[in-house]
């Protein structure tokens, strides 16, 4: 193990971390918002829209991010869509993540007892209010671990942005590996970084979880 390598490549790797975190944050937030919109459109939308959404979900969810990103970035110009690497990467992440988030939200809504929704309807509450005040808070109890799960998975999907030359962590790790052949050290750096990032996300997730389950009685 050659530790001097870390001194040499440290700044580059740190820059890569920064880019990864930026891409992940923006991508996750946008994908989650789009996913929620999709889940709602599928729940409340007219029938033809629901079919369209179903097709969107299955196609995006069913194909690898690598393929989507490759088509978007390298295939896009063939049909006149020319994006720079970073915007393409963020757009790609948003699209790729949205169906997963949509399904997780659908799962969560499934878990809300109908009686609670009926109680809100019975007093004439409007559907958007019911959603925000009753369904989302209750759905989060069951959906939050799955949301955190997928946010964590997205941190790892960002490595694919390296194929379109977004200078994120994998891109820099590859560079370090290719230039020095120190693949083991580079991989180790990658693993450590991810463990740190994921640990932070899980901790935040657990804290949020404690918040959304505050109303429940613990039985241990």
């Amino acid at each position: 193990m050659d530790l001097s390598l870390f001194a040499q490549y440290g700044p580059l790797l740190l820059k890569g971390f920064g880019v990864t975190i930026f891409c992940w944050l923006v991508g996750t937030i946008c994908a989650m918002a789009l996913g929620l919109a999709i889940a709602l459109a599928e729940r409340y939308g007219p029938r033809p829209l629901r079919w369209l959404i179903r097709a969107y979900i299955e196609i995006i969810r069913g194909t690898p991010f690598l393929v989507q990103l490759f088509l978007l970035y390298y295939g896009g110009p063939l049909v006149g869509l020319r994006l720079d690497a970073l915007p393409a990467g963020l757009l790609g992440l948003t699209i790729y993540g949205s169906p997963y988030f949509a399904e997780i939200f659908r799962s969560g809504f499934n878990a809300v007892p109908v009686g609670q929704i009926e109680a809100a309807r019975a007093i004439g509450m409007a559907e958007p209010t019911i959603l925000a005040r009753i369904m989302l808070p209750v759905a989060l109890v069951s959906a939050l671990p799955a949301l955190v799960n997928f946010a964590i998975i997205l941190t790892k999907e960002t490595v694919i942005l390296s194929i379109i030359t977004v200078p994120e962590i994998m891109y820099q790790v590859n560079r370090m590996g290719a230039e020095t052949f120190a693949f083991v050290e580079a991989t180790l750096a990658l693993a450590l970084f991810y463990w740190a990032l994921v640990e932070v996300i899980s901790r935040l997730g657990r804290r949020l979880e404690r918040r959304v389950t505050r109303f429940m009685i613990e039985r241990v």
């Binding site: 390298y74 896009g76 020319r82 290719a178 052949f181």
Partner: protein, 246 residues
């Protein structure tokens, strides 16, 4: 002693990244290319059966060090830094830098035309270093690094790049296959560099490296090397008969 072990086992475990045409590629699921043709001969000389494994580039050298394979036969450009960490065999092909551009692009006729232009290259390669040096000489080139050469070619086709730099044999094969899209920029530039195979840098590996080198030398002499080069590149280049140290 690795040679003895290999002979005793009767087979050689070999790792290569099977998407680096024309050296290593999969055609309908069958492995073929320059490396395979060459190593089939080497194996015959050694009297062992070769077992070719497709392993992504990033896993090859760690796997070699972990003892999962005996050799990495993906073509690796010889550089002084790498020589410190691994044992290289004799060169098996030319790795000098070449350039391709989009066939439809008439603005670029010679390497000097690339001053100030976007040029793609596989990141971290010896070719990238040489391109950098060349760029400094002609007054600046915008270099973009890619994970693999394939992505650089795709971006050239997509129009984001003006040219791609790579090893000459690889580019020649690209142009041969996709002449409709890509065209070479002549002449090649930079110092001559070479591809070779890689073994662990320990005493036990020395015997095997020597045996492989013997076999390569034999192929130099009896013309098999030349024939294989002509088969894949259309022409043969002279290769040094000892491991270059720079």
């Amino acid at each position: 002693d690795q040679l003895a072990d290999v002979k005793a086992a009767g087979k050689l475990e070999l790792a290569t990244d099977m998407h680096y045409a024309p050296f290593d590629m999969l055609n309908n699921g069958t492995y073929e290319g320059v490396t395979k043709d060459l190593f089939d001969e080497v194996a015959k000389d050694l009297g062992v059966t070769p077992n070719y494994m497709d392993v992504p580039w990033t896993a090859e050298l760690p796997g070699l060090e972990a003892g999962k394979f005996d050799m990495v036969i993906a073509p690796v450009t010889i550089t002084p830094e790498r020589l410190q960490r691994y044992t290289f065999t004799l060169p098996i092909a030319d790795a000098t830098v070449g350039l391709v551009k989009a066939a439809s692009n008439d603005a670029i006729q010679k390497p000097e035309d690339l001053a100030g232009k976007n040029v793609g290259v596989q990141q971290g390669t010896a070719q990238e270093k040489q391109l950098q040096a060349y760029g400094d000489k002609i007054g600046g080139i915008e270099i973009k690094g890619y994970g693999t050469a394939d992505e650089a070619y795709a971006d050239l086709a997509a129009g984001r790049l003006d040219a791609v730099a790579g090893s000459s044999p690889n580019l020649a094969y690209l142009v041969k296959n996709r002449g409709d899209v890509f065209a070479p920029v002549q002449p090649a530039f930079g110092a001559p560099t070479y591809f070779a195979w890689v073994l662990r840098k320990d005493d036990a590996s020395k015997s095997l490296a020597d045996a492989v080198n013997q076999s390569i030398l034999k192929m130099h002499e009896d013309g098999r090397l030349k024939a294989i080069q002509e088969k894949w590149f259309g022409a043969a280049t002279d290769l040094p008969t000892e491991v270059p140290q720079n």
